[in-house]
Symmetry: C2
Subunit: 433 residues, 2 copies
């Protein structure tokens, strides 16, 4: 009988060992790809100064921040809180450790973040994010935008997902486009409408634009603009055909062209498109923006997104740190893939051996240790089962937790040989110590 | 100029990328050993129910617990807090998921815990602990006590530390000894005095015992008892020579003998002793107790400790889950090893390549991608440096973050060959694409 409620708090992911092994393998795969692409791992504290976290949060996020208080203190005095993303602590880290870092700084952070969101299916309050960023000091070459997308793409490929599609745009193009249409004053409203365009019917988007009182012609222009999507050559030529000489527009177009060229030449041809509907919600993106979907499972939404920002740490320093980054939301991704049955446990799990000394006699235990040691030296995971149970129970136990079973009894001790039973196929192979 | 205080909160460890790489390698080494010995990884939420965490905390720990509150809520209503160790959430986990687990359950948890301790050098408020436990249902074989010590010992060995010494005892021996001396009523005071015996002069321990008004003879007996330490044969024979027939005493002696026999036969001979001064502070240990020191650096204290407990989850369920476990305090260990200069960065770090397209021309960048891809496929970590800088700057940059430098210029593009400069030795070897 339970005396207390022992379920985890709602919104927290708590996995059984088998699921955890798959999740950890996921995390390790992503980390390995990041490392091979030269990203250096850092880890910031989960608890940070409230003034740092609140300075950058704003809006909904601000309400979701967890404050922390030591038991004897009052909440009012709380000047500490839990980080809600990796970007804010990264900005603090960069300013704090600037003189010890070399720029461009390729950096990755993989860890848990916290948001007190309203609890609902598939939403987590504690969640792993696997971020990468490249940060420059004063300047940062456009090639890094491609490098970030390539790295995230390779990481997703390492997870053996269904075919993916990377959708890329550059916010400067829309900014320039709106300047040409003399729509600067409602630019932020239009950005927000474009950002929501895929979640509502076409008519709704049009209605929202009309509500801005910009005239039918300009409504149609914007509607046509956000419909532009396709492969690089096609999109670039359609955008060029506007004949704009606007500086922002031209710059954005050149950057997009460059980034897409690199992506196509580095293995993403056929799984990357330019798409003018992509603007990303966050205000702080200033150039390249991207998201990634699984076209066969569109309803999942973006599983990996990011972009270019001009100035990471402006709240903390006068120094300018432009950067480009992106993130895979591991906890949510793992959850939805599970929901869709898209994770093959057998594919990613390590094999496990159970070595069972039949009667727990000294020679049996000694041989069990020898067998276990040999297997471990070969890199295998080995459990020795000492339980004082009948053999049947032990074998049932082994079947629950192991893939291979080795029983050590009198015969095995006498002959120095033992059988390794594959619990999946039932086949036994003989080995000797 | 900084506009805000960007230092991490005091008591938080925040490392530079090079240090972080070493720390992560540490963590990965320990995890690998745990896995090879059959321990299954789980991860509980950092935020848990306050009633669960406070039920088990008590004393100093209770004051150190961080409560969490969402911004709009009052602290009074806070029913959530940050875990302060892995044991309490493990107890909750076992009860919650019992029907999905197989016992004996070999389990490991490696993650950050939180204690709002007074800030001082070498004390951390956010710290990694790498725990292992074996949990039985109703019963658990004594061999697992040895298995836990062997696993932790192998994990420490994987970190290439100076020679270590594992000190083992069994609390039943002291319990039985005090019963024989008719000292049950002051048993908990004596346990506490023994636990502190090494931190104070001999005279102080004697004085504390005398204050219990137990008579000089029994003071001397206890003083003699806690002086018993040495190899298995010696200690067992000295304890046997008391001639006690006390059940607890005899049971403790047999268990200690068994555990030490296994440890000696499995490679710990010479680095394990029995030591009656070891009792461990925590009340919930009931049998085997152990700690690990580095004899050449005694002042560091125990770097790895644990023991056997009779009933992990008694607060949450009537079911009995006996277990044995231990922990390596990774954050503190890493800190003190650094302080003593006992970490060899070169020994544990991965090598890193910097590939520099000389003038960022298209053929150079293309070749840089090819070279990087080839190296990454060989398992190497490769940074491509796109910075728009003079070559000298780029090389200086590479020297700060990489171990090998590859410059791709006109010649390299023309010939398809390139030099790999080892930045440590200055030697260059030629390779081709």
């Amino acid at each position: 009988m339970k005396k207390l409620n022992t379920s985890p708090i709602s919104g927290m992911q708590e996995l059984l060992p088998k699921e955890q092994a798959v999740f950890n393998k996921f995390k390790d795969c992503v980390r390995e790809v990041y490392k091979h692409r030269g990203f250096l791992e850092i880890e910031t504290p989960v608890i940070d100064r409230a003034e740092i976290l609140f300075a950058k949060a704003g809006g909904e996020t601000e309400k979701q921040i967890y404050k922390v208080v030591k038991t004897e203190e009052a909440a009012e005095g709380a000047d500490q809180a839990l980080r809600f993303d990796h970007t804010v602590p990264l900005a603090r880290y960069i300013v704090e450790h600037e003189s010890d870092l070399a720029f461009p700084f390729r950096v990755t952070q993989i860890g848990r973040n916290y948001r007190g969101e309203r609890a609902q299916k598939g939403r987590f309050r504690e969640f792993y994010q696997a971020d990468i960023d490249v940060l420059g000091r004063n300047e940062l070459a456009i090639e890094y935008d491609a490098e970030v997308i390539l790295t995230l793409s390779e990481a997703l490929d390492a997870l053996h997902l269904p075919p993916k599609l990377v959708r890329v745009s550059n916010r400067k193009i829309l900014v320039g486009f709106l300047e040409e249409l003399n729509l600067q004053e409602v630019a932020s409203e239009i950005f927000s409408i474009v950002d929501h365009a895929e979640k509502v019917p076409l008519e709704k988007t049009k209605e929202w634009l009309a509500e801005l009182s910009i005239g039918n012609e300009r409504v149609d222009s914007v509607m046509n603009f956000i419909d532009i999507a396709g492969d690089r050559a096609d999109v670039i030529s359609r955008l060029n055909s506007f004949g704009f000489e606007n500086q922002k527009f031209t710059e954005g177009l050149q950057e997009l062209d460059k980034v897409l060229s690199i992506l196509e030449s580095q293995g993403l041809e056929g799984s990357v498109v330019a798409d003018m509907k992509i603007v990303r919600g966050l205000d702080y993106y200033t150039g390249t923006v991207f998201e990634t979907i699984l076209p066969d499972y569109k309803e999942i939404g973006s599983i990996c997104s990011g972009g270019r920002y001009e100035n990471l740490a402006e709240l903390y320093t006068d120094q300018k740190f432009p950067g480009v980054g992106g993130s895979i939301g591991l906890t949510r991704l793992f959850y939805v893939l599970n929901e869709y049955g898209l994770i093959n446990e057998a594919d990613v799990e390590r094999r496990r051996y159970a070595v069972v000394p039949f009667g727990n006699s000294e020679p049996e235990v000694e041989m069990a240790y020898k067998v276990a040691r040999k297997l471990r030296e070969q890199g295998e995971d080995v459990d020795i089962v000492f339980a004082d149970k009948k053999l049947g129970d032990k074998i049932k136990f082994a079947g629950k937790t192991a893939d291979y079973l080795i029983v050590i009894g009198d015969d095995e001790v006498r002959t120095g040989t033992f059988g390794v039973k594959d619990l999946m196929t039932g086949e036994t192979t003989t080995s000797e110590i």
